[in-house]
């Protein structure tokens, strides 16, 4: 039996990515990284800033996300996100920009603990990419 399932990533503007031959996806879920294989139970979760790793028959792909919602059902993984980028297409200067704005945000003392946590996560991820 095949071990493949379907992934669909959509952002508000368009369908970002559809792949039918996915073996495993690792998502940065809010409460920790999560690997999803075929026949996972239905789950809804949301994402924190991090990297989505997609392992498929055609190779490995990495995407940087800042937020989003994940739904897995009937071997269909849908990821809704408003901010996603293929890491291959992100150059150093763009990373620096993102890092700089994130660091500025964390200086702001009025933000809630939750958003502070998210921004810290973002900074960690961006630093690891850099």
């Amino acid at each position: 039996m095949s071990e493949e399932y379907k992934i669909e990533i959509v952002n508000p503007e368009k369908s970002f990515l559809i792949k039918e031959d996915v073996l495993e996806v690792v998502i940065p879920a809010f409460e920790g990284e999560m690997g999803i294989l075929k026949d996972h139970i239905p789950i809804i979760s949301f994402l924190k800033p991090g990297i989505i790793k997609i392992y498929s028959r055609s190779g490995e792909e990495n995407y940087y996300v800042e937020d989003g919602i994940v739904e897995f059902k009937n071997n269909n993984l849908s990821i809704l996100t408003s901010s996603i980028d293929n890491i291959k297409n992100m150059d150093k200067s763009k990373l620096q920009d993102l890092l700089k704005t994130a660091e500025e945000e964390t200086m702001n003392s009025e933000i809630s603990d939750q958003s502070k946590y998210l921004i810290d996560q973002k900074i960690d991820v961006l630093k690891s990419l850099n």
Binding site: E8, P42, S45, K73
Partner: protein, 291 residues
């Protein structure tokens, strides 16, 4: 009767108007294609979002403690209406249709004794509504500078709405926009977004049990504000496709009318030219006869 020179000038002016409307139609057609494409591409996102929220709200155990964005404040007193129109005119009945729909709704609300607050998106709607409802309009948002509808703008609008909701400035929020059906038909729509009335778009009732991580409430709290941005973004996309479609058919009509007018004026011009020639001939002949 107008002189030959006047007629000539009018023909020239109608012709140049026709050129403008023709160009506008062409531009609208090109923009329409793009707007339509992005409206279609944006649909999966809002549909998926809708379905997830539906699944979540079905699964929610404690209805009384549900997030207020979903269940409402429990009152039905103050209504916030977000009227979304275009920033530019010359697009047929596009803006008037939305305004008409909104005005009907407003008068219904005031008959029921409810308070009304208005937020307008787009300058044209503001211009039309401020005449009657000036004191009800609490904010006017315009995205004149952004070329296409983008998610960033939608988020700005939804942030304003949510902020006002959290300050309990209103109980029910409805958005007005034109839904794009095809180039000649756009349907003005009123959609309530707070409290949320979710309907299944595919008509299937699902009772899948999901695992939630973190729990339902937290996901809903995170998701509902996003859903408002998504709904507003959808409305913006539909609106921009409708605007271009409406402008295209309006300009098409204008071009055709101008063509008819040019034909009519040309006939009139030729007739009067002929009349002048005939008159001159008669004068010459009767002058020769009298000699």
């Amino acid at each position: 009767m107008a002189s030959l020179d006047d007629l000539k000038k009018r023909i020239a002016s109608v012709k140049s108007t026709q050129k403008i409307t023709k160009a506008m139609k062409m531009v609208a057609a090109a923009k329409l294609r793009r707007a339509q494409e992005s409206a279609e591409k944006g649909r999966p996102y809002s549909e998926k979002m809708n379905n997830i929220i539906l699944n979540l709200s079905n699964g929610i155990s404690d209805k009384d403690n549900a997030p207020k964005l979903l269940s409402g404040t429990g009152k039905d007193k103050i209504h916030l209406c977000v009227v979304m129109t275009s920033d530019r005119g010359l697009c047929g009945g596009f803006n008037s249709n939305i305004i008409k729909k909104a005005k009907n709704y407003f008068s219904k609300l005031s008959k029921e004794g409810k308070d009304l607050k208005i937020v307008t998106v787009g300058t044209k709607g503001y211009d039309q509504l401020k005449r009657i409802y000036a004191e009800k309009i609490i904010k006017n948002i315009s995205f004149k500078s952004s070329k296409n509808a983008n998610y960033f703008d939608a988020e700005k609008v939804s942030k304003i709405i949510i902020e006002k909701f959290e300050k309990e400035e209103f109980d029910v929020c409805t958005i007005f926009y034109n839904q794009f059906k095809n180039v000649i038909t756009q349907i003005p729509k009123a959609q309530q977004i707070i409290p949320l009335i979710a309907e299944r778009s595919d008509g299937i009732k699902s009772d899948d049990s999901y695992e939630f991580e973190p729990d339902e409430d937290e996901i809903l709290n995170n998701l509902l504000p996003k859903n408002i941005s998504t709904q507003i973004f959808k409305a913006m996309l539909e609106n921009s496709a409708s605007e271009q479609g409406s402008r295209m058919s309006a300009m098409d009509n204008a071009t055709r009318n101008a063509g008819e007018m040019v034909d009519k004026l040309t006939i009139e011009y030729n007739r009067s030219r002929q009349a002048a020639i005939t008159k001159e001939l008669i004068e010459i002949i009767s002058g020769a006869e009298s000699l």
